[in-house]
């Protein structure tokens, strides 16, 4: 009963000072909405990055590596990959699925343009995850099962000036350095998936073997996808797999948290020849992009700290004014029997109610605004795409995130009221009743 009474008094007090309540609640709502939008942006960037990376270029854990024919000539090749797959199946019980893909780098030449791109060889029949994520703007993904076909992204279409059905030439050097070409037919054009899709095309894995003159028992990398509950443990799983492969007799490269294409120089400098495997995580393979996420999270933290400091100062000031205005009321309540704890609760509830109203409104406003931004599919220029990892603004609005943001700001506003409320509760009834102000 006492709780409801205290709550009613707090609510009436807020209602009585409606203008002050309105301004404060609006400020709290604004900060909450901003927190939600900034969190949704960084979560959106993170999710886009993981989604794009694990679809286009990496598994959660990868077994790639290099095969060197001579000290300086070699390529990103895994030989006798089926044996490696067997070892992976035995060593990684957390695995959900795996695929193997060819890797390379080549010049793509069309009748009207050319571009350099990463070449990924794919067995489309065994890539259900790929088919679910890739959105096509024209063509058919199934046709990628035919030899010497190619899927490109929309941004590459602009450079190559091609359409489905057009022919392009892939030109590259084999692992022994001999020039080679393969003529391919464009069978599908996919919608862009951020930065990663700008520099990569997909061809059947047989086409990569033919271009680089590789045997049929070779591939570029084995991409391992983990069951969702094990994804946070990728680093430990990769370290364990590295040890297991070494025990089974493979030469394994030291852990190096960089994507495979950044390792060409260091591998070329070393004098070994033959096969060395390299175990990496998805974070290693996209490490050249994660700085954007760190910057975004840093900016969010700085901005929110400033805004929260302003709101906390505002709430504390307002509470001090309220206590000063209501000193005689406090004195009277104390005189008719209200305990110090009651006074403390009364002011704390007032702040809590204010926080709940403000954050509730802010959460709704933030979610609404975020939804509207997503619905508007706002395209951003290339320089911003490099930062956002997407060609449009993509906010990740999750119910859990909204509730957490609202509770966090409510907690902050309530804590801001603790000290003023405590001071109000410490007022002596006689001096409070005789207060004029």
């Amino acid at each position: 009963m006492g709780f409801l009474l205290d709550l009613r008094i707090a609510f009436r007090s807020l209602f009585q000072h409606s203008r002050r309540t309105f301004f404060l609640a609006t400020a709290v709502a604004g900060v909450t909405a901003l927190l939600i939008l900034l969190n949704a942006l960084s979560t959106g960037v993170s999710e886009t990055m993981i989604r794009a990376a694990t679809t286009l270029s990496t598994g959660h854990v990868n077994v790639g590596g290099f095969f060197k024919v001579t000290g300086s000539a070699g390529g990103p090749i895994v030989t006798e990959y089926e044996k490696v797959i067997d070892a992976v199946r035995k060593s990684v019980p957390e695995m959900d699925s795996l695929v193997h893909r060819g890797r390379g780098w080549a010049k793509i030449v069309s009748d009207l343009g050319s571009t350099q791109a990463g070449i990924t060889g794919i067995d489309i029949k065994n890539e259900p995850g790929f088919r679910k994520v890739i959105e096509l703007s024209s063509g058919r993904l199934e046709d990628l099962a035919e030899p010497n076909t190619m899927m490109v992204f929309e941004s590459q279409v602009e450079r190559l000036k091609v359409k489905v059905g057009d022919a392009v030439t892939l030109s590259a050097q084999t692992t022994r350095g001999a020039a080679n070409t393969v003529d391919c037919r464009i069978v599908a054009i996919a919608k862009d998936m951020g930065l990663l899709s700008k520099f990569g095309v997909f061809v059947p894995v047989e086409t990569t073997r033919s271009l680089y003159q590789l045997r049929s028992d070779t591939t570029g990398a084995i991409q391992i996808y983990l069951k969702p509950q094990f994804i946070p443990d990728v680093a430990a799983i990769a370290a364990r797999l590295r040890g297991q492969l070494e025990k089974l007799g493979w030469a394994v490269m030291d852990a190096d948290p960089n994507p495979f294409w950044m390792k060409f120089q260091s591998v070329a400098r070393e004098d070994w020849t033959g096969q060395k495997l390299d175990v990496t995580t998805w974070e290693d393979e996209v490490s050249f992009m994660t700085w954007t996420l760190t910057v975004l999270r840093g900016l969010t933290a700085v901005l929110l700290t400033i805004l929260i400091a302003i709101v906390v100062t505002g709430i504390m000031n307002t509470m001090w004014i309220a206590i000063r205005e209501r000193t005689r009321e406090i004195g009277t309540l104390r005189a008719i029997g209200m305990q110090r704890g009651g006074v403390l609760r009364m002011f704390l509830y007032e702040s809590l109610l204010l926080g709940l109203i403000g954050t509730g409104t802010g959460a709704l406003a933030g979610a609404g605004l975020g939804g509207a931004i997503n619905a508007a599919r706002i395209h951003v220029p290339l320089s911003v795409q490099l930062f956002l990892m997407s060609d449009r603004v993509q906010l990740a609005l999750h119910a859990g995130g909204l509730v957490r943001a609202a509770l966090f700001i409510t907690l902050v506003t309530s804590l801001a009221a603790v000290y003023p409320s405590y001071r109000a509760a410490r007022l002596k009834p006689v001096s409070a009743m005789s207060h004029f102000g």
Partner: protein
């Protein structure tokens, strides 16, 4: 009457074919011809020249480099040191044993590159600046004679010998029958696709003290990209000097010192 006409036509065909059949060279003769092509370009000593490289690419600004080339026949050592433009000054390639190293003074690092590397990102290769070693690297096959402008050219197909790593596994070569200078080359990919056509319109000779005779070199080379048709590369060879070079020139330290 019909039989007579047929015999006359047959005789005409035989007459037309006769020079070709007569010109067919044996494998040994083709190898000798290739050796002669190599030999007249080899100075058996040290070599220094100044090259001008111009690269034209579709939708891109033309790129021009000036570089110094140093070679030593004895151990097949080789250096290209870029002198112009300013952004490339001090960059260079160094061949030691069978390794080609690239040095960029802006990062101060050496990178190991394949010998088949495109020099400075142009359509030229290390072999375009180096001594000709066609007889060592390729097996010739006779493709007959052909008139190339005013020149009578011996045409041959060169196929890379096994276990030799080559940028172009197949070459079609036109050699001037009279001078034994290369007039034209077509270079093919493993897939059989024509990648590059090269023309050698101007040859010059210089006296080599080490060889005690004249050495021939192409003063102008023009490479036409056959995959990206609009791209081409021009190389001009100037200031050839065959006096002995300093002994410690073919080292990383020497190349590094040039950018300090």
């Amino acid at each position: 009457m019909r039989t007579l006409r047929f015999l006359a036509a047959f005789g005409l065909v035989l007459m037309l074919l006769a020079p070709r059949v007569a010109a067919a060279l044996s494998k040994a003769e083709l190898v000798d011809l290739l050796k002669a092509v190599d030999e007249r370009q080899r100075n058996q000593g040290d070599w220094r020249d100044l090259v001008y490289i111009e690269q034209k690419e579709k939708d891109k600004v033309d790129v021009a480099y000036e570089a110094l080339v140093f070679r030593r026949s004895q151990d097949q050592k080789f250096i290209i040191l870029f002198t112009k433009p300013k952004s490339s000054q001090g960059q260079g390639y160094l061949r030691i044993d069978k390794n080609l190293w690239f040095y960029d003074p802006s990062v101060g690092k050496w990178e190991r590159r394949t010998e088949r590397e495109r020099i400075g990102g142009t359509n030229s290769r290390r072999s375009d600046f180096d001594e000709s070693r066609l007889a060592e690297e390729y097996e010739p096959e006779d493709l007959g004679e052909e008139k190339l402008g005013t020149y009578n050219a011996q045409v041959m197909k060169l196929t890379g010998k096994p276990n030799i790593d080559l940028a172009f596994p197949v070459i079609k070569l036109w050699v001037d029958k009279q001078t034994r200078n290369v007039l034209k080359r077509q270079e093919f990919a493993l897939s059989g696709r024509l990648l590059r056509t090269s023309y050698y319109p101007r040859w010059k000779k210089a006296y080599s003290e080490s060889k005690k005779t004249d050495v021939w070199y192409p003063e102008e080379m023009r490479f036409y990209d056959e995959v990206e048709k609009a791209n081409s590369t021009l190389i001009l060879v100037k200031s050839v000097d065959m006096r002995p070079l300093e002994p410690n020139l073919f080292t990383k330290a020497w190349l590094e010192s040039k950018s300090r």
